[in-house]
């Protein structure tokens, strides 16, 4: 079991409030991603759950038991660090076995478990090597091995892929997701990369300035963002925000339209007129950055190739059903 609940969790460092009261329910076996800009408190929240920091207020329940006074090792969680944090003087085997050794398991059982974990992660040929003799991806797998071998109630991942190159990151992303589904163990994953969040999560927690802005499934967040922050943070390229007369015509002080929901047409077809200032041709998509006069710069995404170049006049029209409306305080107006 690995059910985690946060109840009014607060954390301050002196006069600075990092976490301003977080409430969250994480169901057993789910993959939850904490995402937000740097400094939003996502890593602190993870460390509070891990027990590496003490809470200032509130309760953290793991399987119904409040663990705020329980030391990290006794919480039954394991953590994968951004820097991998492998023990440099120990072999891969020693690294993976360390937690089991500390728990006082018999040698034969430790060996059996270490070898099983190594096999799962394709680390068997490297068991006797030292961390410095491994590549970044392999080190990351050792760190994951160290986490899974203890059969924890939940995994905590602290931006584990941010030190890898882009190609390896995509591959490890898949591996981590697959492993989590296979083990069916609760996972909490911290990242600042919203693409990682969207692709890996069962549920996403969007954090901003120490507050949970929204908690929901990736598509929920994409389709029904609670406020301007979530709307702008989830989705790539960013949602276009328009205020003023054009917004008022749609019945709200501010409206948002995602780039993929802006129809690009030849100039003079109605909609918002503009001039292409940059066109990015990816083959599969075309991203247009359009100077739309009073509306500001708008981003439009066209699926497939669209042969437009800077200076071309276009007109953009939003799909009426896909317009997001926000009130003065930035909260979404749901119809």
């Amino acid at each position: 079991m690995g059910q985690i609940a946060l109840q009014g969790v607060q954390k301050s460092f002196g006069p600075v409030h990092i976490i301003k009261g977080a409430d969250l329910d994480i169901t057993d076996g789910s993959f939850v991603v904490f995402v937000g800009p740097s400094g939003c408190g996502k890593t602190t929240l993870l460390r509070l759950i891990a027990g590496l920091e003490d809470v200032t207020g509130g309760a953290i329940l793991i399987d119904g038991r409040n663990v705020v006074d329980v030391p990290p090792a006794k919480r039954g969680l394991s953590m994968v660090f951004q820097s991998y944090a492998l023990y440099p003087h120990m072999s891969v085997r020693g690294n993976i076995a360390f937690g089991l050794k500390m728990a006082g398991l018999p040698k034969a059982e430790i060996n059996r478990k270490v070898e099983a974990a190594a096999a799962t992660l394709n680390l068997t040929p490297y068991l006797e090597r030292k961390p410095r003799e491994l590549s970044g991806g392999q080190r990351q797998r050792v760190a994951i091995g160290r986490a899974i071998v203890r059969e924890p109630k939940a995994f905590l991942f602290d931006e584990p892929l941010s030190n890898l190159d882009a190609a390896l990151r995509v591959q490890m992303r898949l591996e981590v997701t697959r492993l989590q589904k296979q083990l069916a163990t609760t996972a909490i994953y911290v990242t600042h990369d919203q693409v990682e969040a969207m692709t890996m999560a069962d549920k996403i927690v969007v954090l901003n300035a120490g507050k949970i802005e929204q908690y929901g499934s990736p598509l929920d967040l994409y389709e029904r963002p609670n406020n301007l922050f979530v709307a702008g943070f989830i989705g790539s390229p960013k949602m276009n925000f328009i205020s003023g007369e054009a917004a008022r015509q749609q019945g709200a002080p501010t409206i948002g339209v995602r780039p993929e929901h802006l129809k690009v047409e030849r100039a003079g077809q109605g909609g918002w007129p503009g001039t292409v200032s940059v066109a990015e041709h990816l083959g599969s998509d075309t991203f247009l950055y359009v100077d739309a006069g009073q509306l500001g710069m708008l981003t439009a995404r066209y699926i497939g190739e669209l042969s437009l170049s800077p200076g071309d006049k276009v007109s953009l029209s939003p799909e009426p059903a896909r317009i997001h409306r926000f009130d003065e305080s930035g909260n979404a107006i749901h119809a």
Partner: protein, 276 residues
């Protein structure tokens, strides 16, 4: 842009490095050569380089005139003792400053270092008087104590920089893995810290071995280490170059051998934090 390394460049820089090395090494070589000359040849002009009458008579005289072994033993006790005591004090001090720093940690470190900026001669008289009154003049305990105090700031600084290099994440990983403080110390921290401890220990040993100011001023015979033994050859009776050289060679031999075998640790110790 990577520079093309031509053969010429390699030859020139190699030659330059050897030349620099030779220049630095030359005084020591000259001292060793002089120790095998007769007193007359030792200050002959022009000096003879290798073709002179080789003799070991200076070494015999030196051992006869003064007890080399006693001074060597004193050096070992004073340098070794002061190093061990300094390490025992500095390890916990550097540890706490590196892993649980307070607002004043930086000031404290700077203050400790600033004591090394003061010329020792500035406190010679008070220290001398205190030592006289406490009966510590010309005692091994007294010298061990003063060298330990003198080197402590450097030892704390070196260890502090070294401990700072140990990533906090690793300690946290050990905590997550269920290691108690004691086991964390035995299985994780100590193995990681050993190279740093070793190089600090070596450097401190060498500094203490070579220290001449306090040892010359606070000891005469009983507790006198090898530095005093060397200095005794520049005496009112005149300068005995060959004997002085023989004495110096004998004095630096042990530390030279130690340095030779621990080059790697020493270089590591002296380039702390410079390279990852």
């Amino acid at each position: 842009m990577a520079r093309a390394v031509t053969t010429n460049r390699v030859v020139i820089s190699t030659a330059a490095a050897w030349l620099c090395g030779f220049l630095i090494f030359f005084p020591i070589l000259w001292m060793v050569l002089a120790s095998f000359k007769t007193e007359l040849e030792a200050f002959a002009i022009p000096p003879s380089f290798l073709f002179f009458h080789w003799t070991t008579e200076n070494y015999a005289t030196v051992q006869e005139r003064s007890d080399y072994l006693l001074h060597a033993l004193n050096s070992i006790i004073i340098a070794g003792g002061s190093t061990i005591i300094a390490m025992l004090i500095a390890i916990p001090a550097a540890w706490s400053m590196a892993f649980s720093p307070t607002k004043r940690t930086k000031d404290l470190l700077l203050w400790m270092l600033s004591t090394k900026m003061m010329p020792p001669v500035g406190v010679l008289v008070p220290i001398y008087l205190i030592y006289r009154d406490l009966g510590l003049l010309d005692t091994r305990v007294g010298l061990t104590f003063i060298l330990c105090l003198g080197n402590l700031p450097i030892v704390v600084w070196m260890l502090f920089t070294y401990f700072k290099e140990i990533p906090k994440d690793i300690l946290e990983a050990a905590r997550m893995d269920g290691a108690t403080i004691g086991r964390e110390l035995i299985y994780v921290l100590t193995p990681m810290a050993v190279p740093g401890l070793a190089s600090t220990l070596l450097l401190n040993l060498i500094l203490a071995w070579n220290e001449a100011f306090w040892t010359l001023n606070l000891s005469t015979l009983q507790a006198a280490p090898l530095t005093v033994f060397i200095a005794s050859y520049s005496s009112p009776e005149g300068l005995f170059w060959a004997k002085l050289s023989a004495a110096s060679t004998l004095a630096i031999a042990p530390i030279l051998v130690l340095g030779w075998f621990s080059q790697r640790q020493l270089v590591r110790g002296l380039t702390f934090g410079a390279v990852k």
